[in-house]
């Protein structure tokens, strides 16, 4: 099991498109992928769950990843967050 903390650095937060990216990665994973934010813990494979968390810009979220491909998934998510969900083009 991997725990990884990531910061939301784009200007809009986890709105519909970023939630789609995250859910996409989570759904493709063998591992279970959960996201913890402001005392809520949700299955990250559901885009609606992610959206309902209302993760605003600047927030820090934690992923709990458990399964055979946990390392790959953690890496993918880290890259995604680092790239600010490909939104705020530098």
């Amino acid at each position: 099991m991997i725990k990884c903390k990531l910061k939301v650095e784009n200007t809009l937060g986890i709105h519909v498109r970023p939630a789609g990216y995250i859910a996409n990665i989570a759904s493709a994973a063998q591992s279970s992928v959960e996201l913890i934010y402001s005392e809520q813990r949700v299955n990250a494979k559901s885009i609606l769950n992610l959206m309902m968390l209302v993760v605003e810009p600047g927030a820090e979220v934690e992923f709990l990843i458990n399964g055979s491909d946990e390392q790959e998934v953690a890496d993918e998510l880290t890259t995604l967050f680092k790239n600010k969900f490909n939104e705020d083009a530098a």
Partner: protein, 607 residues
């Protein structure tokens, strides 16, 4: 300038109002336990259709704007396949017994509201996307046009612009609130066009993306005669059209001299010219346009726009409003013709792959005897003046007419027990399916009259969906196969000693009327304001000559030759009616023979 299909003639210069496609009203209707499965299926299919649209949009966006831009649609697709959405909506249908549309509405509204407290930018972004998904899916969950409606106040009379308007919606407006229709979709024979003609408002259909190019409040010139729309016209255009409107009104006034004359050919053949009506309020139009009766009263409009079925007494009153008001003129009422593009919200109807060939019309009535019997009893009660004809639509063979008559007789027996006297009522069959044509002699023996519904007969004979603009050019009313079918029907009727009427849209074209009259059709039924011009043309021809011309036309092997031949033979008769162009255009343009806003005219004549 936009060019579309001239669907209802006349001219109007007025402000426009856009019908917003995304605005829906859904009704909080509970469903029966036994329709749970069908509602869930309906919901799933709606989602599938919406997903297909989104996928198309995504592909288009990739081409137009690049892959990154298109990602938002991937998110939309994911939302629509998220189990928490699907399961919640299904649970609302299964456990709370909400209809599919309302269940989805409830879920989405709650979801949208849940972002109310988040930051403004975040909230707007979320809610915009969710609303987009909401309306996209709901469009497929509203039964036909039943549910998506602008229920906004109309402050002044306007031309409606939009992607589409359903018949039900149109019926909700008061007379005079809508001056015209300019729609992106549709064709001259779609139901809305027919309705526009009967409401006497000009209409242009199939305008492509007009609604994206106008704003509510823009001034429009709507030319329903030529199928033209001009947005924010300059003074030149306005002056030109003002003149046009004047000429048009003079033509109308001239036609009014026809009102009190008889529809008799020069050699003395009397041709009945009846009116089609949809609402009992229109009964007064029938006589004011000089009709000889009502040839088609579309009873289904009593059933539209409501969640419960009309009661027997309610129906009897509506029918009696017409039969009594017009007594002694004959009134032909068609029994419930729902299904196809006319869905009822009071009857649970599943979405069908092929609704025009589906559970509709007499098929529905024979299955739902409860509905059918209520209507028949109401009709029998309303026939107490002896001027009522009842006609059964979509008869495909002998068995259906026999079963309909059996049920009718059961109703008579039951009414007698209630102490109600049974008046003389004539029963007729509508011939609009090719199979019925092939056994029409058998059908004719069992009824008092035949009525040809040309809209469906043409569509089924040629296998052409009249509302599909890609193939609407193939919808040829004068196709030799159609004419031969009509000849077969007429001959069978006359052999059985009964009259035959034509009540499709086709007869609002003078040339078609002459052709059909020549084939032996005894009666016509049309939009009431077409009657005076039809009378004018009938009074100008010889019946014997018309018989000979139609017999010749029947020998020709293709539509073009038939049209050329007819145009040549009748060129003098149709001159001045402004219809010379109609046959060259695949879609019927009713040309400047219209009598738009004639009620104003009548008032003006009266003062």
């Amino acid at each position: 300038m936009f060019i579309g299909k001239a669907s209802s003639p006349g001219y109007v210069i007025a402000k426009t109002k856009i019908i917003v496609r995304q605005r829906f009203t859904v009704s909080p209707l509970k469903i029966q336990k036994d329709s749970t499965a069908s509602q869930i299926e309906f919901f799933r299919r709606g989602v599938v259709k919406a997903k297909k649209e989104i996928a198309n949009l995504r592909d288009l966006t990739i081409k137009m704007a690049g892959k990154e831009e298109s990602k938002i649609f991937d998110s939309h697709l994911m939302i629509l396949q998220d189990p928490s959405l699907i399961d919640s909506v299904i649970s609302l249908i299964k456990n709370d017994q909400w209809n599919a549309g309302y269940a989805f509405h409830l879920y989405m509204q709650k979801l949208i509201e849940s972002f109310e407290k988040s930051g403004k930018v975040f909230k707007n972004r979320m809610q915009d996307d969710l609303r987009d998904i909401y309306s996209r899916v709901l469009l497929h969950l509203s039964s036909n046009d039943n549910n998506f409606v602008v229920q906004e106040e109309i402050e002044e009379a306007v031309v409606l612009t939009g992607f589409t308007v359903g018949p039900n919606m149109l019926m909700q407006f008061e007379k005079g609130e809508i001056l015209g229709l300019a729609l992106d979709s549709g064709s001259t024979t779609s139901h809305v066009s027919i309705l526009a003609r009967s409401m006497q408002i000009p209409a242009v259909m199939g305008l492509g993306n007009l609604s994206e190019s106008v704003e509510s409040g823009d001034l429009l010139i709507l030319d329903g005669t030529n199928g033209v729309v001009i947005i924010n016209p300059d003074e030149n255009d306005i002056n030109k059209y003002k003149k046009q409107i004047e000429v048009f009104q003079n033509q109308k006034l001239e036609l009014f001299t026809m009102r009190d004359l008889e529809p008799i050919t020069m050699d003395g053949k009397y041709i009945r010219l009846n009116a089609n009506i949809e609402k009992f309020e229109e009964a007064s139009d029938v006589t004011s346009f000089g009709a000889t009766g009502v040839g088609l009263y579309r009873s289904e409009f009593l059933y539209f726009g409501r969640d419960s079925l009309p009661t027997r007494s309610e129906q009897a009153e509506a029918y009696r409003n017409v039969t009594h008001q017009l007594d002694p003129l004959p009134v032909t009422i068609r029994t419930l013709d729902a299904g196809g593009d006319k869905m009822l919200s009071s009857v649970s109807m599943e979405t069908e792959d092929n609704p025009f060939m589906g559970w509709r019309s007499i098929r529905l009535c024979l299955d739902r005897k409860d509905i059918f019997k209520e209507q028949l009893k109401a009709l029998i009660e309303a026939g107490d003046r002896g001027n009522l004809n009842i006609m059964f639509p979509m008869i495909s063979g002998v068995k259906e007419i026999e079963r309909s008559k059996e049920i009718y007789n059961d109703c008579c027996a039951e009414l007698r027990l209630e102490g109600i006297a049974i008046p003389k009522i004539r029963l007729g069959a509508m011939i609009e399916i090719p199979s019925a044509v092939m056994v029409v002699e058998e059908i004719a023996k069992r009824v008092d009259f035949l009525s040809i519904g040309t809209n469906d007969l043409i569509q089924f004979t040629l296998a052409v969906d009249r509302s599909n603009s890609k193939i609407s050019a193939m919808y040829e009313p004068h196709h030799p196969a159609v004419l031969r079918f009509i000849k077969t029907i007429v001959d069978a009727a006359h052999k059985a000693g009964i009259p035959v009427c034509v009540c499709g849209e086709m007869v609002s074209e003078p040339l078609s009327t002459l052709l059909l009259m020549g084939l032996g059709v005894d009666e016509f039924s049309m939009v009431s304001w077409c009657i005076m011009e039809c009378k004018k043309i009938i009074r100008s021809v010889n019946y014997d000559e018309a018989r000979a011309i139609s017999a010749e036309a029947l020998k020709l092997s293709d539509t073009d030759s038939i049209n050329d031949f007819l145009r040549k033979k009748y060129s003098k008769k149709i001159k001045g009616l402004g219809i010379s162009s109609f046959i060259t255009t695949p879609a019927f343009s009713t040309s400047d023979r219209a009598l738009v806003r004639i009620d104003d005219e009548i008032q003006r004549l009266g003062t």
